[in-house]
């Protein structure tokens, strides 16, 4: 199959296994492209893409913008902080205004879960979800699984633990869907207060002891504590969280096997992961960032190919 089964990328939940394999195969080709002397291909030179960021982002926004530019698309940027949203404009009005400027694709990050889905049902342009509140962050999950595949050869049969703030993390939910579709076993680990109540219904193992979780896994994905989304205290102090769930070099070296450490960024050094772990050979954090551009190029390319002239 040469095309995606979906019209928009709002979440991993809607993708099939074949879709994910197709994205990975296409990303392989783009990874080669971004390591060439001239890192640009002309495929999307007649496509215009709007990056709508209603929430702060550095990495994801840069990564999407680079991916778009390396595909030769025209790019317009929008950030809520400096826009009419502050003047009371609704999401659909904002987007319709941008679309009347003939935009073919919208990349959107929004604080409300379901915002991307809402938009995709109301506009003709292609929508890619770059994170919707605590719901999904599909391209991050794709690049995480792609990085595991690159390092370990395959995702199927691997044991992956996601550690930290599962309750507020869109990365966790998208990763769970993606890893399971690719045949990996998934465990979540964190304090009870940061664990969604019905998480086990997703078919994941729940563990509260970090050391046990790390002994079990092949890959540990360390999430950031999302203080900006926490409206109340979920743990007594950052120090206490870090004592129980922070990954240190001592813990890593004390394990019976060499595991791979991932982090979706931005890192709070010394909280969920110490500097020496983040900079160690077992960490593939910077490879994740590189793969992010290739994965986003693949997703944009595949969705753009559905836009008929």
């Amino acid at each position: 199959m040469n095309s995606l089964s979906v019209d928009d990328l709002t979440g991993i939940k809607d993708l099939t296994r074949a879709d994910i394999d197709l994205i990975f195969k296409t990303a392989d080709a783009f990874k080669e492209v971004i390591n060439r002397p001239i890192k640009k291909v002309p495929s999307l030179r007649d496509i215009t893409i709007a990056n709508l960021f209603f929430e702060n982002s550095t990495r994801t926004r840069l990564s999407f913008e680079l991916a778009e530019k390396r595909l030769s698309a025209d790019v317009v940027n929008f950030s809520a902080a400096s826009s009419s949203v502050k003047k009371g404009e609704t999401l659909i009005d904002t987007v319709n205004n941008i679309l009347s400027m003939k935009v073919d694709m919208v990349i959107m990050r929004h604080p409300n879960p379901g915002a991307a889905k809402f938009l995709s049902e109301r506009i003709d342009a292609k929508v890619i979800n770059a994170g919707d509140g605590t719901h999904e962050h599909p391209t991050q999950a794709l690049l995480d699984s792609y990085s595991i595949r690159e390092r370990l050869g395959d995702v199927a049969g691997k044991k992956v633990v996601i550690v930290g703030d599962i309750l507020h993390s869109r990365v966790a939910l998208s990763n769970i869907y993606c890893l399971q579709k690719l045949g990996a076993e998934v465990m979540v680990c964190g304090p009870t207060t940061l664990m969604p109540r019905y998480i086990h219904e997703l078919g994941v193992i729940v563990e509260h002891d970090l050391k046990k979780a790390l002994e079990w896994c092949d890959v540990a994905n360390m999430l950031r504590i999302q203080l900006e989304r926490q409206e109340m205290k979920y743990f007594p102090s950052l120090r206490e969280y870090s004592m129980q769930y922070g990954l240190t070099k001592d813990i890593l070296d004390g394990l019976s096997k060499k595991i791979i450490v991932m982090h979706p960024g931005p890192i709070n050094r010394g909280v969920e992961i110490t500097s020496d772990v983040a900079d160690s050979k077992q960490a593939i954090i910077l490879q994740q960032v590189e793969n992010g551009v290739a994965i986003r190029m693949a997703v944009i390319y595949l969705l753009a190919s559905q836009i008929k002239r």
Partner: protein
């Protein structure tokens, strides 16, 4: 569908040998020349010519594979997007002579994309084109090959297929003509 063999395995082998000697006439010891096959079927031409040249010259020839999917001019005009193949060019083409290789030269659009794709790897001194089959009078663009295995006159409705021992079981070139009622 009527089937006509244009080159049988004996002529096929002779053609490969002739093309190799023609390349040697122009490129001497290949110290400043690299060969690049266009994915997917140009790779077969490249592999065969490379082994022939290496047998004659007793030295290794620098070769690469080039995929042109992202440079095609029919993106979004097809029902299904094309899935890219691998590009393997781990050398610098700056100041080198490049010989591009493909199996059939037809409209010239693939070669046009290939030239664009090639320039992402630097500025070669000269680019030449080698094709096993040239379907002349069918060109959409002003592109010609420098080394041609066999020139054939065909109709647009016809199809020319270069087949390989390694893939199809026999070296040959076949012209398929649709029946009148097809």
């Amino acid at each position: 569908m009527e089937k006509q063999v244009i080159l049988n395995s004996k002529h096929f082998e002779l053609t490969i040998k002739r093309l190799s000697y023609q390349l040697i006439e122009n490129h001497n010891d290949f110290s400043k020349t690299v060969l690049i096959g266009l994915q997917p079927r140009g790779i077969n031409v490249l592999t065969r010519i490379k082994s022939q040249l290496e047998a004659i010259l007793k030295k290794e020839i620098v070769c690469g594979d080039l995929d042109i999917t992202f440079y095609r001019d029919d993106f979004r005009r097809r029902e299904q997007p094309l899935i890219p193949s691998a590009t393997n060019i781990d050398f610098v083409i700056e100041n080198k002579n490049v010989v591009l290789m493909d199996d059939v030269l037809y409209t010239g659009r693939t070669i046009r994309s290939g030239l664009d794709a090639l320039l992402a790897f630097g500025r070669p001194v000269k680019v030449e084109l080698l094709t096993m089959i040239d379907r002349r009078f069918q060109r959409d663009l002003p592109i010609q090959s420098d080394y041609t295995g066999r020139t054939v006159d065909t109709l647009t409705s016809e199809r020319v297929s270069v087949e390989w021992k390694e893939i199809e079981g026999e070296d040959k070139v076949v012209l398929y003509t649709p029946d009148e009622n097809e």
